[in-house]
Structure formats: structure tokens, C-alpha cells
């Protein structure tokens, strides 16, 4: 199996991070616009603005200073794009390939033996965009006073709830967790992580009642529900409404993102803490300009007119691709590939906890599920629905993932109706009704009802083909269109016979979101009652799982408590081995690559970067490395 990720143009960028920054003999360089300010006496020199040990990145191509990166925001709740593009500066960051965690704002860290105490070392001389020192106190404020307050409705990374932070000295933060969490660093690097270093205590404490007795009154006087909401609006990563907030990110927001101002503009942060291999202070690009649009088609039009420099937001669907493809030359841009983190286009899940005895016993028979899997002509689905893009695939980590297991991914994917029929006969399902549908031992026809949401059309296309394939092996798949909330109500109450959804958890999210690898999640629709053992053991609907599944849950628990990543990863492989053996769900195909558009004048565009919600593409590439060719 070729590893697609091998061709990543930026993979070197992240490898150099851990090495730290060797002192550069000839000092540091800065952008001309900053040099002018230094000369005018408005700014301290670059050496004084950078921390003692800046984070040195290895740029694929050393860029030139200047220019504007143009993109768009759709409506007034599109802060996701700001978080992905300009503001992904967590304490520790995902690697480009999403296979680990590297230093970012923290220069290093230590973990105790049972993964409950994490010590982070900050950079001496690191400064906020207003020139004041960034210290451990700011982090302690964020974790103890804001994220752990129930009054704060903004982003509260779940891993930090119940955590206590202390600051033994200004450059050291110790975070103590209530329970072991071997994936804590991965959570800190996720899209929610930057909240921890998003709040300058001096600025944000004015919204906190412990520091400002009038905070609550000020908030309610302004028409807000309370101080927590004021904090979210002014200092949260979720709603970037206040441009006055000092930042650690590469660019400083210039106007509030309030749905009225357009474009939302940013200008370079003179105190940004990263440099390239030649000692040039980053970012290369001076300004960001995000035009606020009302409609995704406006983004497409701006894109083909060459008015966007680098984006995949809201436009990366199959329907738009030919339009972007045809206008590349005229608009002077090109298409770049991204890797969708999902590992499957559709996972068909028979409900192994279904209340009806006859069907539940049938669904729990592994040979029955294998027969159904052999009964699907996946290549036809790939050709018809995905224009030939993709490959037959089960619920398994993607080929790019360190947990890739070819057997797990490919088992039972060959289309073999004869074998399927043989297996079904062997199970004893030999009786058929007048329509050729096999009968249960109690005489009922095997008709599997599956409700699917109408707002996501491809599931319907896929299932209708599967229904045709299964007709050949004497199984009736009764596909029904339904409103999304109905489908979810059925599933949440365990009333569903079968369920279909895309394959989350294909890349770096595999360990955290293992919903298809074992029953542990609200979305583990194949065994919600077994999943209760993991997420809510006191729930009345909980059922004891079979021995092997219980062992798998136990291994999964040990994985979170693992002291080092090697043990942790090894335990997760054992979890996946049981997944392979149990064969809970039936997958269809690996999703094709997605894409974005980039102006031909932009340098260091990342190819084949993963794309997911918790991995906020393009953030982990270090967008400060993008540059405009002169």
C-alpha cells in the first residue's frame, strides 16, 4: 500500500520544530513595514520582540514579506474559518500529517507516569501582540477561572473540565487532571485547544466577576445574559467579536467580526514568536482580508475570478469542482488536494441490540454480516456515486494512518453473491417467500428497514444500490427517506433496525472518536446499549456486552491510562484487532480526496493536508509560512 502522505510538501516543516531554535549568528530579520516602525521609534527592535527561544520552522520555500491573503466568511457565524486560518495557535500543535503532537507556544513538556500531571514550559520573553509579557498566569486564568466555570458558555475543551492549573514560575504551567488521560496532548492540540492561550489575563479579567466586581452588571447592562457570555464574545475562540483582544497569533484582528463589518481584516503581529530557517520573523504575509458573503455561490464566483488566495471553506464539494477546474487559467489559481479524515463514505450498521429477538439473534450472527458484506458490489457504487473515485473499504483507519491495517480495511469487501448465498444457506436461512426473500426461522421475511436523512443525499444513492445488490441474495433492504430529527430520535431510543452514517475517526481522531471500532459513543448505532458501559454505566438501558466486547472496552480504558504513547498506541492496536474479529459494521468505500483553491501567486501551499473538524485545516501547516510571490 502506498502511503499517500509521503508526498507532503510541508512534512519537513514540522520535523524541525522539536529541535528548538539554535541561536542565529546574524540576528533576525523582519518585515519592511515593521522595520519602518522600529526606525521611527514606535516599536522595539525585532530581537526584543521575539522570545529568547523563538520557534524555528523549516519553510519549504523561504518567502518574501508583504501582500494580502484574501478569503471569505459566510454569514456571521463563520468563526470556524478564523479559527482554522489565522488563530490556530495552541499550546501544543498537531503535526502536519496528524500523527502526533509538537511544541508550539509551549517549547517542551513533561508528563508524569500515570498521565494525570502535565508540565508545560513556556518561552521566556514571549509577548502578547500589545507587547506585554505572556506568562503562565494567563494560562492559569484561562483554565481555572474561565474554562472551568459553568457560567462560561464558550469553548470548554472536555479534557480540561475538572483540571487544575498552577504556575510554579512565570514560564511553567502544571495542569493536573482528575483522571489519567493519555490523549490529553492531542486534545490540547485540537480545534478547541487554542482557548487555553487565547486569553490575556490583563484584558480578559475585566469580564470576570472575581477580578472586576462590575463584570456581571456591565454584561447585563449591555443586554447580555451574564459575564460568561461577555467573556465568550470578547475572549472566546468561538465568537471573535472583539478586535481589541491582544493575541499570540500571527495576525491581529482589526475589526470586530459581527456580521456587519466587511471585510474582516487582520494585520501582522509584530511580536509573533516564530521564525523561518534563515531567521526571518514570521508571518510572511502582512494582511488578511476576509470578505463577508451571504451565499456560498458568491465564494465560487470570487474564486473563479481569482479574487481568493487560499481557501477550501464552503466550496469544496464535488459539484463545484468542474467550475473551478475550467477557470484555473483565467483566474490564475490552481486546485490543491486535501485528505478528508473520514475513512468511509457510508457505514451500514445493523442494530446488534435490537429489541426484537428474531432479528437481534440474526444480526448478532457474524456470518450473516459477512454474507451481507460480500453481497455488496462496492465497485458499482464507487463508479456510479463517486465517479470512480475511492476503493472498497470497511470501517478501519485510513491508509495514511499509523493504525492502518490492510486486513481490517479490506476483509469481506469482494463482491461474491454466490459465496454470500452459500453462507446464508449454511446459517439455515433456506426458506424463501414468493418474492424470493429469505425467511427467519419464525417465518417472517428478512426485511431490514433503514431510515436515512434526506439532507445528506448520497446515503440514499448508496443504499438504493445496496438494496438492489441484496435482492440477489434474498435480503430485502427497506430504504426510507426521513427527516433528520426523526432518524435521530429513533436511533437515540434504540428503535432503529439499522443505521447509516459516514465513517468518522479515520485519521488522527481514530483513538478519540472510535465509534465504529468499539461501542463507546452516541453514534455507535450498532450497539448503543453496550456503549452505555463506556459513557454512562449507571444508565438503566445499559446491557452487559459479550466477553470479547467487554475485554475490548477494558483495553480501551487502559489505553487512556497509558503512561507513554508507545504503550497507548499498542493498546489501541489491540482494540482494533478485536474490531477486526468482531466485524460490527459494514463499510462501503474510502472517500475520495477533497480540494481547495489557491492563487498561483501564493507560496508554500500545502498539498494533501488532512481535513477534519478537530484538525482545523489549514492551521497545523503553520499559515504564517504562506507568502505572496512578488
Amino acid at each position: 500500500m502506498t502511503k499517500h502522505i509521503g508526498r507532503l510538501c510541508l512534512s519537513t516543516a514540522v520535523l524541525a520544530l522539536a529541535a528548538g531554535a539554535p541561536a542565529l549568528a546574524n540576528g533576525y530579520n523582519q518585515a519592511p513595514m515593521l522595520a519602518a516602525k522600529v526606525d521611527a521609534g514606535e516599536l522595539p527592535p525585532v530581537e526584543d520582540r521575539l522570545p529568547a527561544e523563538p520557534l524555528q520552522l523549516e519553510a519549504p520555500e523561504v518567502g518574501t514579506y508583504g501582500g494580502t491573503w484574501r478569503s471569505t466568511l459566510k454569514g456571521n457565524n463563520d468563526e470556524g474559518w478564523i479559527r482554522r486560518s489565522a488563530n490556530y495557535e495552541p499550546l501544543v500543535s498537531y503535526t502536519f500529517n496528524w500523527d502526533g503532537v509538537v511544541p508550539n507556544i509551549a517549547k517542551s513538556w513533561e508528563v508524569n507516569d500515570n498521565a494525570t500531571e502535565f508540565t508545560f514550559h513556556l518561552r521566556e520573553g514571549h509577548k502578547w501582540s500589545d507587547g506585554t509579557p505572556f506568562t503562565a498566569d494567563d494560562v492559569v486564568f484561562a483554565i481555572n477561572d474561565v474554562i472551568n466555570s459553568d457560567s462560561f458558555p464558550g469553548e470548554r475543551p472536555p479534557a480540561l473540565l475538572g483540571a487544575v492549573a498552577t504556575a510554579p514560575d512565570p514560564q511553567t504551567v502544571v495542569i493536573t487532571l482528575p483522571a489519567p488521560h493519555s490523549l490529553f496532548l492531542e486534545e490540547l492540540a485540537s480545534v478547541a485547544g487554542p482557548q487555553v492561550v487565547h486569553m490575556q489575563k490583563a484584558f480578559c479579567s475585566q469580564y470576570h466577576p472575581d477580578y472586576n466586581p462590575d463584570a456581571e452588571k456591565n454584561a447585563t447592562d449591555a443586554g447580555l445574559s451574564g459575564w460568561g457570555e461577555a467573556m465568550m464574545l470578547n475572549c472566546g475562540v468561538r465568537r471573535n467579536r472583539n478586535a481589541d483582544r491582544p493575541t499570540l497569533a500571527a495576525w491581529i484582528q482589526q475589526v470586530d467580526y459581527d456580521g456587519i463589518n466587511t471585510p474582516v481584516t487582520f494585520v501582522r503581529n509584530p511580536y509573533y514568536f516564530k521564525v523561518d530557517q534563515e531567521g526571518n520573523q514570521l508571518p510572511y504575509i502582512d494582511n488578511l482580508s476576509m470578505t463577508q458573503v451571504e451565499d456560498a455561490n458568491s465564494i465560487v464566483l470570487m474564486g473563479i475570478a481569482g479574487e481568493l488566495d487560499f481557501t477550501n471553506r464552503h466550496i469544496d464539494n464535488v459539484a463545484n469542482k468542474p467550475v473551478f477546474f475550467d477557470n484555473q487559467e483565467k483566474g490564475d489559481y490552481h486546485i490543491y488536494d486535501t485528505i478528508v479524515a473520514d475513512m468511509n463514505t457510508a457505514i451500514i450498521q445493523l442494530n446488534l441490540n435490537y429489541d426484537d429477538d428474531g432479528f437481534r439473534e440474526l444480526f448478532q450472527n457474524k456470518d450473516f454480516r459477512i454474507a451481507l458484506s460480500h453481497g455488496i458490489d462496492r465497485q458499482e457504487i464507487i463508479d456510479v456515486v463517486y465517479a470512480g473515485l475511492g476503493e472498497p473499504y470497511q470501517a478501519a483507519p485510513r491508509p495514511e494512518s499509523p493504525f492502518y491495517d490492510e486486513e481490517l480495511a479490506k476483509q469481506y469487501t469482494e463482491w461474491d453473491p454466490d459465496l454470500a448465498n452459500q453462507m446464508l444457506d449454511d446459517i439455515g436461512l433456506t426458506e424463501r417467500n414468493g418474492d424470493g426473500i429469505r425467511l427467519l426461522p419464525d417465518g417472517r421475511p428478512i426485511s431490514i428497514r433503514i431510515d436515512t436523512t434526506t439532507d445528506l443525499g448520497t446515503y440514499l444513492d448508496i443504499l438504493e444500490l445496496v438494496a438492489l445488490h441484496w435482492e440477489e441474495i434474498g435480503i430485502d433492504l427497506d430504504v426510507r427517506k426521513a427527516e433528520r430529527s426523526y432518524v435521530y430520535e429513533q436511533k437515540d431510543n434504540n428503535q432503529h433496525m439499522a443505521h447509516v452514517w459516514k465513517g468518522d475517526g479515520g485519521l488522527g481522531d481514530a483513538m478519540l472518536d472510535s465509534r465504529y471500532y468499539l461501542p463507546m459513543h452516541d453514534e455507535s448505532a450498532f450497539a448503543l446499549r453496550w456503549a452505555m458501559n463506556w459513557k454512562d454505566p449507571n444508565n438503566a438501558t445499559r446491557q452487559d456486552p459479550p466477553e470479547e466486547v467487554a475485554r475490548q472496552l477494558d483495553l480501551y480504558k487502559q489505553m487512556f491510562e497509558a503512561a507513554d504513547t508507545e504503550t497507548r498506541d499498542d493498546l489501541f492496536r489491540q482494540v482494533l484487532d478485536i474490531t477486526k474479529d468482531q466485524f460490527y459494521t459494514i463499510g462501503v468505500s474510502l472517500p475520495p480526496k477533497s480540494y481547495g483553491i489557491a492563487s498561483n501567486s501564493m507560496g508554500n501551499i500545502p498539498e494533501n493536508q488532512p481535513h477534519a473538524w478537530i484538525y482545523p485545516n489549514p492551521g497545523p501547516m503553520n499559515t504564517s509560512l504562506l507568502f505572496k510571490r512578488q
Binding site: 484574501r70 454569514g75 457565524n77 480545534v191 456587519i260 451571504e294 451565499d295 475570478a305 479574487e307 473538524w613
Partner: protein, 330 residues
């Protein structure tokens, strides 16, 4: 006359109250509320929904209270001039309206001026030169303008501009002028953008005015007083403008007041297609996101503008048509 106005204003106040109830009720009708709409929007963009936030905010905004309580609270605040708070935009409603009303007014007034400046002369011409080539031409184009939906016309113009110049015309300003202060450069930039919405709105509205004016004028032109005036040798242009046109305008004047609410609503789809920073997209957004206070304020505002517009129309009619004036006095 004064009594007439007083009567109308009293009726208006009652109408406004009814209106406020109806619009609040309608906005509440669909399932869900502003918080769930916000969560759904985040989810559609691939973001996690943040369920913890939802319940907390719903509690704090009083969205769990019964409808009538929410309505009365809103009404009470309205009476003391507090338009409420937009959750979706995290701003007081009055601030939002204030920031957009000027530009909305400017675009709409420009469009309406152009509309009337085109439609009235063409209407008169079509009537006076009935069945001439010019009349046919105006009729055909008027109907095409009427038949083609505004947003389609907007898309068409955007596409043609893109094909011929390679630029995407959107919004009312280029990025460099968007957040700048007014200057000569900004005015020119504005004019280079504003012609598209103006043309789109004007062509869409011209046909009915042309047709109404033409039909009424045709009725008048053959009346005995016109024939008499003509027989006595009155100058044709002066004759037509002074008498039949004045009469023919009456039905148009009666509807001129309806122009007022269009400041917010006329060109919603056009404004979205063209990305105009006016109040229209805000109205749509607030309705989609069930942002009660903002949507309620805007719709109520539109209702009040309609009522005021009707009053203005009545007064104008009285001024233009002596018969109505006499009717009022009695």
C-alpha cells in the same frame, strides 16, 4: 384635514400593536429557536455543536418561557425604546439597524429615482404614441423586465461582467474602500458597484408603472376636455403634462407610500446574490436563525413604514386630486 390625520394615526397605532403580535407569533412558529439554529449552522459548517452552551444560553435568554410572556416582555421593552438584543450578531438591535439603514436608504432611493425617471417618460410616450415602434419596444422590454426575476437578472449581469472583464462584481465597495471613510475615491468606487442593483431593481419595477400610466393616460386622452383644449389650439406638450398626466398618475401616487418598506425588503434575494451590505440580508439571516428581537424589530419596522407610507400616499392624493380633498372636509 387635521381630524383626518388624527384618525389615521389612531388607527395606525392599533394596527401596529396587532402587527407586533402577528410578527412575533409567526417568527416563533417553526420548531426550534435562535440557539438551536445557531448550533445547526455550526454543525452544517462541520463544527461540533457545543450542546452545553445551548441549554445555558436558552435558560439565560428566557427562551424556555411561554410565548406570551416572551411577547409581553418584548413589547414592554419596545415601548421604552429598547429594541432588544440580537443573539446572532451579539449586538443591540438598534446598533445593527443604525449601521445599515443609511446605505439601504441610499441604494433604494437611487433605484427608485432611476425607476421613476425611466418609467414615467416611457409610460407617457407609449400612450401618446400608441402602437408606434417605440411603444412596442418599451412594452416588450418592460414585460421582459417584469417576467425575469430580479435575482436572475442580477446573476446574469454578474456573469456577463465576469465573462467580459474577468472581475467579480459584488457588494457596494471594493475591499480597499469597504471600511474607509467617504472620499471622492470611495464615491466613485460606490458608483461603479451600485449601478447593478439599481439597474436590477429599476428594470423589475418599471413594467407595472409603464403599463398603468399608459392605460390611464389612454383613457384620458380621448376625453372631451382634452379634445376641446386641443381644438382651442393649446400647445400639445403643455396640454398633456398639465391635465391628463396628472389624472393618470393618481393610481401610482396611491401606491407611492409602499415604496418605504421596500427599503428593507424589496430586494432581499438580489441583495444576497449581489452581496450588498444592506438591511435585506440581515432580515433574511435573522429570520433563518430565528433571531427574535432582530427579526421582530425589522418586520415591525417594515409594517410601520407601510402604514406611514399609506398615510403619505393619502396626503399626496389629497394634494393632487381635489375630489379627495373635498371628501375629507365633509
Amino acid at each position: 384635514m387635521l381630524q383626518f390625520i388624527a384618525n389615521r394615526i389612531l388607527t395606525m397605532i392599533c394596527m401596529t400593536l396587532v402587527l407586533s403580535f402577528v410578527c412575533f407569533f409567526i417568527i416563533q412558529l417553526p420548531p426550534g429557536d435562535v440557539i438551536s439554529a445557531y448550533a445547526a449552522e455550526l454543525a452544517a459548517a462541520g463544527d461540533s455543536s457545543g450542546g452545553q452552551m445551548e441549554e445555558m444560553l436558552r435558560e439565560r435568554y428566557g427562551l424556555n418561557q411561554p410565548f406570551i410572556v416572551q411577547y409581553l416582555k418584548w413589547l414592554r421593552n419596545l415601548l421604552v425604546g429598547d429594541l432588544g438584543y440580537s443573539f446572532n450578531l451579539s449586538k443591540p438591535v438598534s446598533e445593527i439597524i443604525e449601521s445599515r439603514i443609511g446605505i439601504s436608504l441610499l441604494v433604494e432611493m437611487l433605484a427608485i429615482t432611476v425607476l421613476w425617471a425611466i418609467a414615467v417618460p416611457i409610460g407617457i410616450y407609449s400612450a401618446v404614441r400608441r402602437y408606434s415602434v417605440g411603444d412596442m419596444f418599451a412594452t416588450v422590454f418592460g414585460f421582459i423586465g417584469l417576467a425575469v426575476p430580479n435575482f436572475l437578472l442580477a446573476l446574469l449581469i454578474m456573469y456577463l461582467v465576469y465573462v467580459f472583464t474577468g472581475t467579480a462584481v459584488e457588494g457596494l465597495f471594493s475591499a480597499e474602500y469597504a471600511n474607509a471613510r467617504w472620499s471622492l475615491g470611495r464615491i466613485l468606487d460606490f458608483l461603479s458597484h451600485v449601478w447593478i442593483p439599481v439597474v436590477v431593481i429599476a428594470t423589475g419595477g418599471a413594467a407595472p408603472i409603464i403599463r398603468v400610466l399608459r392605460a390611464n393616460l389612454l383613457d384620458e386622452l380621448n376625453k372631451p376636455y382634452v379634445v376641446t383644449a386641443r381644438a382651442k389650439g393649446m400647445k400639445e406638450s403643455r396640454l398633456i403634462m398639465r391635465y391628463p398626466v396628472r389624472v393618470a398618475m393618481i393610481p401610482l401616487v396611491a401606491t407611492v407610500g409602499w415604496v418605504l418598506p421596500t427599503i428593507i425588503s424589496s430586494s432581499i434575494v438580489t441583495a444576497i446574490v449581489l452581496n450588498l451590505p444592506t438591511l435585506s440580508p440581515i432580515l433574511l439571516r435573522s429570520l433563518l436563525s430565528q433571531d427574535m428581537h432582530l427579526a421582530g424589530a425589522l418586520i415591525l419596522f417594515m409594517g410601520i413604514l407601510t402604514l406611514v407610507g399609506t398615510l403619505v400616499s393619502d396626503l399626496l392624493l389629497a394634494w393632487i386630486d381635489p375630489r379627495i380633498r373635498t371628501g375629507m372636509a365633509t
